[in-house]
Every structure is written in structure tokens, then in C-alpha cells.
Amino acid sequence: MSEASFYTESARGATRDAVKEVEARTSAEIVVALRRVSGSYRDADYLAGFLLAIVTLFVMLFAEHGFPLLSFPATMIGAFVAGAFFSTSVAPLRRALTQPARRRAQVGAAARAAFVDLGISRTTGRSGVLVFVSLLEREVEVVADIGVDPVLLGEDWTRAVAALRVSMRPAPTFDAFRAALLGLAAPLEQGMPRAADDVNELPDEVAAT
């Protein structure tokens, strides 16, 4: 699965190197955070269970084989539970049962929470940029601190951020993501050039969270 490529040691190392490469050109501080999922989506699981239960009901009603009457309640409940449980492990099913706008909102909220939890704002120039990747939703959210002015960075920045999101479609591939991450360097260098005495205030090392 393409998502698995994000979890390899080589991916972590490549991310660290890409962050260093970007920060070598700009005073902005880049942090990349990877999450398997940014929401609960329990409702989607319930919906999957319900649909499976309905399908099971129709099968039991119209199949040639007869079923004891008392088997219906247990079978329905069992199908519901099985469907819900199955949905927790099958990301495409969860995506199919949720609205894209809802997934984007979920990722946005999780990204902002991670911005606080990871201390992205603890830079002297308030120049932190969080690149938040959520694989189930196939979304990338870029959260920049107040010292990073999107207006100042211009259209190039907008395109670079859009390229990050595109790297998750139709399926996330790490190489595409890495290339898009490096694409942040040019607009950041233009608007926030690195000074010779810039201090790397947010470590580039990758660690589990």
C-alpha cells in the first residue's frame, strides 16, 4: 500500500533531509507531522455495519435456504458488528462513507491541535510552518505561524501548498510528497530569506509521537 511507504525508515530520513534542504534557504522553520487518521469516523463504521446488516437481511429473506426466525436478530447484530469492525480497518470504505468536506475539516482541526502540541510557535520570529499529513483522509494541511505571511509569499506559495495536497491524490506516494515538500523552498526563500546567523530553533529530527 502506498501509505506504508510513509512509515519506512528511509521515508523518515528523506523527510529530515528535505526539511534541512528547505530550511537552508529560508528563515522559516518547517515541521512535518504524519498521522494515519485525523478523526474518529465511528459514524462511518456504524453506517458500514448498518449497510452490511441490511444486505444480510435481504440475503436471509430472499435466499433459497431458510433461516430460523430467531436467527434473524442475532444475525443482524452480528452483521452490524462485523461491518463496523471491518470498516475500522479498511480505509477506502471509511472514505467512501464520509464526505470530503468533513474529512478536510477533520484534518484541519487535527493540524491546528498538532501545531500547538508540537510547539511550532516557539520560534523567535514566529516563522514555524507545520506540514500535517493525514493518510486516511489523503489530505495535507499547512499551518503557518503569524510570522509567515501568505500574502507576502504570493501565488508561488499558494501553488506550492496546492502541490502538497495534490501529492496525496489519487493515492499518496512518498516520492511525490517529498518533491512537493521541497517545492516550498522557492517561495519561502523569496519571501523569508535565510540570514547567515539563523538558528535552527525547531529540530529537524524525526521521532514517533
Binding site: L34, F62, S71, T124, G125, R126, A207, A208, T209
Partner: protein, 533 residues
């Protein structure tokens, strides 16, 4: 404050819980309703104890699920039906088989996703919710020189005419103007430069005070530079170390030593003043006298001027220390920082080279010669309390500070004497060139005899026999258009007449101001090792 790790895990917020629970409840309700309908249908005459398939009774087939048509998926349905049948007719076999199939499917799916190794990660330290200790604390740990340089870089990016030298001139002038206004209880007259919070602080400090005078800024440090409000504004926090004298209603005067932190901000779209306007505290937009400002609008330019859109505005004033103590003139304080490594700006050499390319007559030899001249003249002026000797070689602000101390010593009938002073070596620390000035910071290693004596000749501190080694960071400034070779002789750099400078810094022969750096290097800042680094 560390944040509980659980906040990093996806969990339902209250709103999403409501969102997710409702469909689930609807699904369950529908399921139960379906079961009840089915159950009640079974109670109808002819429903029997088993129910399934079509409406046939005992045979035949009609409707879906049978073998008519749709043959592609029939075998899957048959397997599923078989499993269901096995589960309920032979549960001892069927249930474990069903469980095993479900577990196998889930295991296969997770194996495909590499679930065992799929641990969320992040760069930036990824400390599981706690803030990385490597991330610096803003403000107090940032060296002044770093925050100062950051201010220059951030502001000059949008305002090429910005000059740190002129900004500091303005800051000094504003500080004095604000406290003078405070003494008259007229701080609100400076509302174009003061936010409401700052005016409130000053009003409280004005209680019982009728005048503030003899305002001398001893040191100005940069604590923090931030681009705020989506980087549309620049915010800088300065720390003033100063002395002033307050006169109360009964005419009594009291001197204070104060440390205050001022936070100033300005729109990044604002443009810096011309050098000749740097110290004028007038309308932030057009420079008209402040008396022309009615409310928040200038009567001349008709602009609302108390927004920080045109010039720096003081957002807040925090009093760190205010003590009724006279200046400390005696006491032996050990030198700190002599053995510190020199703090050298990474850009220093490159900018120094750029300076020499712009002014071929500029050289290290002449610069250090100028430093030696300034050093020598200041030693004599300081020891003899003759300000005239130092006046040509120091900026207005530095001279004001030196004068204050000289007056204080004189008032206390003492002198601080330095003898046999000599420079041991000079190292380049930093160079900043802006639209109007070049500023070169040097670390000066020197030694001298240093002692304080009364008018009667009694030594009250220091030693007349043991030399004291010390180092300081000296910043010299010069106008960016100046190309005159650094002069080591005591002549006016403009007219060449023997050097005779008035209190205001003007040559008494040509009347031109020669102490602002337009012609030659003048000493602008002196910083100790523990402050600079």
C-alpha cells in the same frame, strides 16, 4: 505546559460525537425496526417458524437470490448463505469458522498496510506532546544583537530606507519626550505614538509629579523582534536603562534609576523618516507639530495617525525596576567576560569587504587608527571631566550619557581616572550597512589604571598601581555616503580647521554638525561582554 499525549490521538470531540452517534442510532433503530417487522410478519398466518427466500411455500423459486439470472455473483452469495446456514444450524463449526474468516480478513488488511510499523511521527523533535526543550524561549534568551539584527532584516525587507541608527535616535527621542510629557501629565498629547495601555501606565506614573527632567538613557537593549498580525506589523521590545529626576508638587526632586521594557510596533507598509526628521516627535505622517493633532487626526494631513500605520507606536510599557538610588560611583566590580570568545557575526567579513569595495579609501588600518584616537581622547575627557575633548568623536546619545556621568561625578566631587590606557588588540565583530549609515562593531581589548578619587585626592575605589584589563564592544557609525579617509588628526573632517566642537556637535568654524557620522566614524555604542553576547 505539556499537553497530554491523548490530544494527539484522534478522538471524537463533543460535536463529532453528536455527529457520529446520530447516524449510528438511526442505523440501530432501523435495524431493530426491521427485525421487529420481520418478527411480526412471522406471526402472520402461514408465516411459520422459518422465513426466508421468496414467498413460495415449500418449493420453487421466484424473486432474487435464486438461480435465475445474475450468475456472476451467485457463487459468492451461495458461499455467504452457506456460512450463515452453517453458523446457525451447526454453530459449533460455523461460529469459529466465521470468527476465523473475519479475523483473517482483518489481519490481511492490516498486514497490507504494515500496521505493526505504522507509528505516527513528526519532525521538530516529536516529543509526544511536550514541547521540545531545544526550542528557545522567546524574548529573554535572545541576545540583543540578534534581536537588533532581526529587526533590521525584517523591516528593511519592506522598507529599504530603514536605518537602525535612525531608529535608535528616534527611540531615545521618544523616550525622553514621553517622560517629559508624563511630568506635565500630558502623556495623551503623544497619543499618535502611544497606545491606550501605554498612556494608562504613564498616567498612573504621573501621580504627584509635576516635572520630569535630566532624562538620560544609559543603555538600550533589544529583547525581541516579531512580525505579528499575519506579518503585517513588526513588533520590537526594547529595554531602556535610564536615569531621570522627578519633581513633585512641593518642589522636591528625586532621582531614579529605572529599567523599562517598551514594546513598539509599526505597519510593515510604513516608510522610515528622512534622517533629518528622525528625532522629531511630530505627526507620524507629515511631521507637523503634535499640537496639530486633534483627537486622532492631524489637522495638516487629515490622516488618523494613532494606528501605527505611519510610524512606530508604543503598545505597552512595563516597569522592570525603579529605585531611588543615586548612580553608583564607587565600588570595585570584577570584570566579567574578558575571557569570553569574541561574538562574531557570520556576515561580518563579507560586509566588511563590501564596505571596502564601496569606499576604496576605507581600510582596517585607518579604522583602527580612528578607534585609537577616540579611545585616547575619551580617556582624557573622562578623567578630566572635560566633555569637549570627547564631543567630536561620539554620537549625540553617547555624549548625553557620558555627560550625565561626568556631571554626576562632578556633583559628588569625585573623578574616575584612567591612566596609561592602551589598546592591546581590536577584533571585527559585526558590520551592518543600511540606507543611511554603515555601522562597524569592534571588540576592543584594552588595559589601564582605573580608580576613583575625591577632589582631595583620596582613592575611594580601584587601584593606582594595578592595571585592569577589560574588553568592550564598540560600535562606530558613519554616513553611508561618506568616503573620507578616517582622520587621525584633531581637525574638522569638513573644513579641516582645528577641532573645536560645540555642545550640539557643530564645528565652531564651519558650523556643520560633525558628530552624526556624516563625515567620519563616530562612536555610537559601548556594550559590555556579558550584554553583547
Amino acid at each position: 505546559m505539556s499537553t497530554p499525549r491523548r490530544l494527539l490521538r484522534p478522538r471524537s470531540s463533543l460535536s463529532s460525537l453528536r455527529t457520529s452517534a446520530l447516524p449510528a442510532l438511526v442505523a440501530l433503530a432501523a435495524l431493530v425496526a426491521t427485525v421487529l417487522v420481520v418478527t411480526s410478519a412471522a406471526a402472520r398466518p402461514g408465516g411459520g417458524s422459518s422465513f426466508g427466500g421468496s414467498s413460495r411455500s415449500g418449493g420453487g423459486s421466484s424473486g432474487g437470490g435464486g438461480g435465475s439470472g445474475g450468475g456472476d455473483c451467485t457463487w459468492i452469495i451461495e458461499i455467504v448463505v452457506f456460512l450463515f446456514q452453517l453458523t446457525f444450524e451447526h454453530p459449533v463449526i460455523g461460529v469459529p469458522l466465521d470468527v476465523g474468516i473475519i479475523v483473517a480478513i482483518v489481519w490481511w488488511v492490516r498486514q497490507q498496510g504494515g500496521a505493526k510499523t505504522m507509528t505516527d511521527w513528526s519532525s521538530g523533535g516529536g516529543s509526544g506532546g511536550a514541547v521540545s526543550p531545544a526550542a528557545p524561549v522567546v524574548a529573554s534568551s535572545t541576545p540583543s544583537r540578534v534581536a537588533r539584527k532581526q529587526l533590521f532584516l525584517v523591516v528593511a525587507q519592506a522598507d529599504p530606507g530603514f536605518s537602525l541608527v535612525l531608529f535608535e535616535d528616534f527611540a531615545y527621542a521618544l523616550y525622553a519626550a514621553v517622560h517629559e510629557a508624563r511630568g506635565r501629565n500630558q502623556a495623551d498629547a503623544l497619543s499618535p505614538y502611544l497606545a491606550v495601555e501605554a498612556i494608562g501606565h504613564l498616567s498612573r506614573e504621573a501621580q504627584g509629579v509635576t516635572e520630569v527632567r535630566a532624562i538620560v538613557v544609559g543603555a538600550l537593549r533589544y529583547l525581541r523582534t516579531v512580525a505579528s498580525n499575519g506579518a503585517r506589523r513588526v513588533e520590537v521590545t526594547l529595554e531602556f536603562e535610564a536615569n531621570y529626576t522627578e519633581i513633585d508638587a512641593s518642589g522636591r526632586s528625586q532621582s531614579y534609576y529605572v529599567v523599562e521594557r517598551w514594546t513598539l510596533s509599526r505597519s510593515r507598509a510604513a516608510r522610515s523618516r528622512k534622517p533629518e526628521m528622525a528625532r522629531i516627535v511630530g505627526c507620524p505622517n507629515c511631521g507637523a507639530p503634535l499640537s496639530s493633532v486633534r483627537g486622532n487626526t492631524c489637522a495638516y494631513c487629515h490622516q488618523v495617525v494613532n494606528t501605527g500605520e505611519f510610524d512606530w507606536m508604543v503598545d505597552s510599557i512595563v516597569e522592570v525596576e525603579k529605585t531611588k538610588r543615586p548612580p553608583q560611583l564607587t565600588g570595585d566590580t570584577a570584570e566579567v567576560g574578558n575571557d569570553f570568545p569574541t561574538v562574531i557575526d557570520p556576515d561580518a567579513q563579507a560586509r566588511y569587504q563590501a564596505l571596502t569595495r564601496r569606499d576604496p579609501s576605507f581600510s582596517w588600518q585607518h579604522l583602527t587608527g580612528r578607534v585609537a584616537l577616540v579611545f585616547g581622547e575619551m580617556q582624557v575627557a573622562w578623567s578630566t571631566l572635560e566633555w569637549k575633548r570627547a564631543r567630536p568623536f561620539v554620537s549625540d546619545q553617547l555624549f548625553q550619557m557620558l555627560s550625565y556621568w561626568m556631571d554626576t561625578y562632578r556633583h559628588e566631587k569625585m573623578r574616575n581616572v584612567t591612566e596609561n590606557g592602551r589598546i592591546m588588540r581590536i577584533e571585527l565583530a559585526a558590520v551592518i550597512s543600511d540606507a543611511h549609515y554603515d555601522a562597524v562593531t569592534l571588540r576592543v581589548f584594552a588595559t589601564s589604571l582605573d580608580y576613583t578619587i575625591t577632589d582631595g585626592g583620596k582613592v575611594v575605589s580601584g587601584s593606582r598601581s594595578t592595571e585592569r584589563a577589560y574588553t568592550e564592544y564598540w560600535t562606530l557609525i558613519r554616513g553611508s555616503n561618506a568616503t573620507t579617509r578616517a582622520v587621525s588628526d584633531r581637525v574638522c573632517p569638513n573644513c579641516g580647521a582645528p577641532l573645536d566642537i560645540s555642545m550640539t556637535g557643530n564645528c565652531t568654524s564651519c558650523k556643520v554638525k560633525v558628530t552624526a557620522g556624516e563625515f567620519d566614524w563616530v562612536l555610537s555604542r559601548i556594550e559590555q561582554d556579558d550584554v553583547y553576547g
